[in-house]
Chain length 221, copies 2
């Protein structure tokens, strides 16, 4: 089958930076490419946009293919279109980023990839295409949004402790946060509430909280 047009059209893909917190680190999902170009290199998951498919839907489809997960936070990041970014032909990619709660981590290899793996955001292998640049932009966006939105909550399960939440901030920002100030701040946001339940451990049990509006990301302050 061929596609014919009377003026130039472009190949369009979506690529996704899928973040999670794993092993006390900010990590992201890469696939090992099974096909040329960059066969054997690590790359962001992504694929071509179908003619009848919305961009968001395409990104969401790719996300689900790689992780098996739906109902995940997903946001458009930036569109990359340098003419030489793909050696085959001109391809522009609409990049997205997604945040996976740690408890939903379950990973299976997708059909078109030899392997899939989680990598520390700060210790990535060499990436195919301009994917390094895409990751850099995604990290900037993620860190910036921590300060003025409730984005970080999307890394957590439905219920979580205040220490869990603080740990997310500390891992992504890479610096320690004062416990009392953090708790004062997060409670003042009025975005979470106690469930009444406690989490047991080999130490004092911690109060469990839930988001008042699960899944929503609010712009704050």
């Amino acid at each position: 089958m061929t596609y014919t047009y009377t003026y130039p059209h472009l190949a369009v893909t979506t690529d996704i930076v899928i973040f999670t917190i794993r092993d006390e680190r900010l990590q992201l999902l890469l696939i090992k490419r099974g096909l040329a170009p960059f066969q054997g290199s690590w790359a962001l998951p992504g694929g071509f946009v179908n003619p009848e498919e919305a961009l968001d839907a395409c990104a969401r489809r790719e996300l689900e293919e790689e992780t098996g997960l739906a109902d995940i936070f997903l946001e458009q990041l930036y569109t990359f279109g340098r003419p030489d970014r793909d050696p085959r032909e001109r391809v522009i990619t609409v990049a997205y980023y997604a945040l996976i709660p740690s408890n939903k981590l379950a990973l299976y290899a997708a059909s078109d990839a030899e392997a899939v793996g989680w990598f520390d955001a700060e210790a990535l292998p060499v990436l195919a295409f301009d994917h390094k640049e895409i990751v850099t932009v995604a990290l900037e966006r993620l860190r910036a949004k921590l300060d003025y939105s409730t984005l970080a909550f999307q890394f957590l399960p439905d219920t979580f402790t205040l220490s869990d939440l603080q740990r997310v901030y500390e891992i992504i920002l890479g610096e320690a946060i004062d416990k009392r100030n953090f708790r004062k701040w997060v409670l003042a946001l009025d975005q979470i509430e106690e469930t009444g339940a406690l989490r047991q451990g080999s130490h004092r049990p911690a109060k469990l909280y839930r988001m008042k509006e699960p899944g929503s990301v609010e712009i704050i302050k």
Copy 2:
């Protein structure tokens, strides 16, 4: 001439929201469409991306075609790709926004448009395609960036008074700002310096300032 591919490709355009301050109002540039679809409707300037052309370069080319201006602040906004946003076929558009200094306003009609005009951002006519939505997103971005960057400076000529700058903020935000507090704040940013010259008028002359790094947009605070 025809273009043939072995898998689907998409039509890709860039559209630009060109802002300026004119007549004490935030205005933007629209063109009256000379061709179907939406013939006779007002629309954002834009056009198809050439196969060898970077996205930024395409947006900059369109900007120059409509305004005759180069060296203008231009930033990618968002990519819109609803499958039904163009009645002809699937077209995705990478939207940009640009800020024109008031003193550079000189406008000539472009070849493919019947007419070009500036419109109040708050009183737009009905727009073609999903351009209303694009403008809404651009306005949100513009207002948000006023708070945490020196974006607003891009609306001003090389030299300007503190009152000029305050007026830009007041017009875009739609609210009055205290003069003393504004001056304290803007000088503390350490982004502008006195030229030594004064601007004469039918009243006390005002000190002229210039940006220390003309054209740069800094993230502040």
